[in-house]
């Protein structure tokens, strides 16, 4: 085992930060979604790396569940997106401010 765990963790953090940047800057919900996938992947990577270095199979198990949940999330999320697009003709998240207080 030649590469230290830190390297994987820092890489995971960088990918996570990129994901956050994407989620907060993008106005297109599809791209926000993809940024979320990026963040999920970063977390998966850290999970597997930790599992590997700590000798615990749980990291990989959790990753499996994260993937399953991500798949579910994407299918529902895209469904919502289509529904919104159908009614609003606009999927700019800055315009969809129905939560405004």
């Amino acid at each position: 085992m030649s590469v230290p765990l830190n390297y994987y963790i820092v890489l995971s953090m960088v990918l996570f930060a990129l994901g956050i940047a994407g989620v907060t800057t993008r106005r297109n919900p599809i791209l926000i979604f993809m940024s979320i996938e990026l963040m999920l992947n970063a977390v998966n990577l850290s999970l597997i790396a930790f599992g590997r270095y700590l000798g615990d199979a749980g990291g990989q198990m959790l990753t499996i569940f994260v993937m399953a949940v991500a798949a579910a999330e994407v299918s529902v999320g895209l469904g919502i997106l289509i529904a919104i697009f159908r009614t609003k003709d606009n999927v700019d998240v800055d315009v969809l401010n129905g939560l405004k207080g």
Binding site: S2, N28, I30, L38, I48, R52, I64, G79, D92
Partner: protein, 187 residues
């Protein structure tokens, strides 16, 4: 990290896939065209799969490619094309003045978390002999033996995950299915 360790098999793999993952991840965030961003995400997912391989998680690397890069990304592309986002709001894709704040916070957060990770170095650098023996742990057999072991907590969660997916499928159909009245009434 020493030079030898970098030049070893795992080190080279790590360097290559890490560079690819960061580059493609950056592209996902900055590219204007959703199609191109999606393709960058596919490259990113492949790179992460490579990193899984470097961590001996063979089965998950395969699943990553098949489920993520295959199924999920196809769904993304399908929706992008369905909604005809090829050109539509290309030039308004960024959120103006908020972008600066967003990037600043992202960099700050990434840096901070990395700092935490480096600070905790001593705690997580374990001797090699305590690790799971490389060959079987990440294989289909190794994963299966842990996942389907009734004495471990994963089996129960796994069964419920199938239910979750069923609900998600039904939900997606209900949401995306055509409803004449509601859609036209609001349009």
């Amino acid at each position: 990290m020493t030079l030898q360790s970098i030049l070893s098999g795992q080190g080279l793999m790590f360097l290559f896939f890490a560079a690819a993952a960061i580059a493609s991840g950056l592209l996902v965030v900055i590219l204007q065209n959703p199609l191109r961003a999606a393709l960058s995400l596919v490259i990113n997912l492949f790179s992460v799969a490579g990193l899984y391989l470097s961590l001996n998680a063979y089965f998950l690397a395969t699943v990553q490619v098949i489920v993520y890069a295959g199924a999920i990304m196809v769904l993304f592309l399908f929706v992008i094309m369905l909604l005809n986002m090829g050109q539509a709001n290309m030039h308004t894709s960024y959120r103006g003045v908020r972008t600066v704040a967003a990037f600043a916070s992202a960099i700050g957060l990434g840096g901070l978390m990395s700092a935490v990770a480096i600070k905790g170095q001593a705690a997580v650098m374990l001797p090699a002999e305590t690790m799971v023996s490389g060959s079987t742990a990440g294989s289909v057999e190794g994963v299966g033996k842990v996942l389907y072991n009734p004495s471990l907590p994963w089996l129960f969660a796994f069964e419920w995950t199938s239910f979750l997916l069923l609900v998600a499928v039904i939900g997606a159909v209900v949401l995306a299915g055509k409803r004449q009245q509601s859609s036209e009434g609001k349009a």
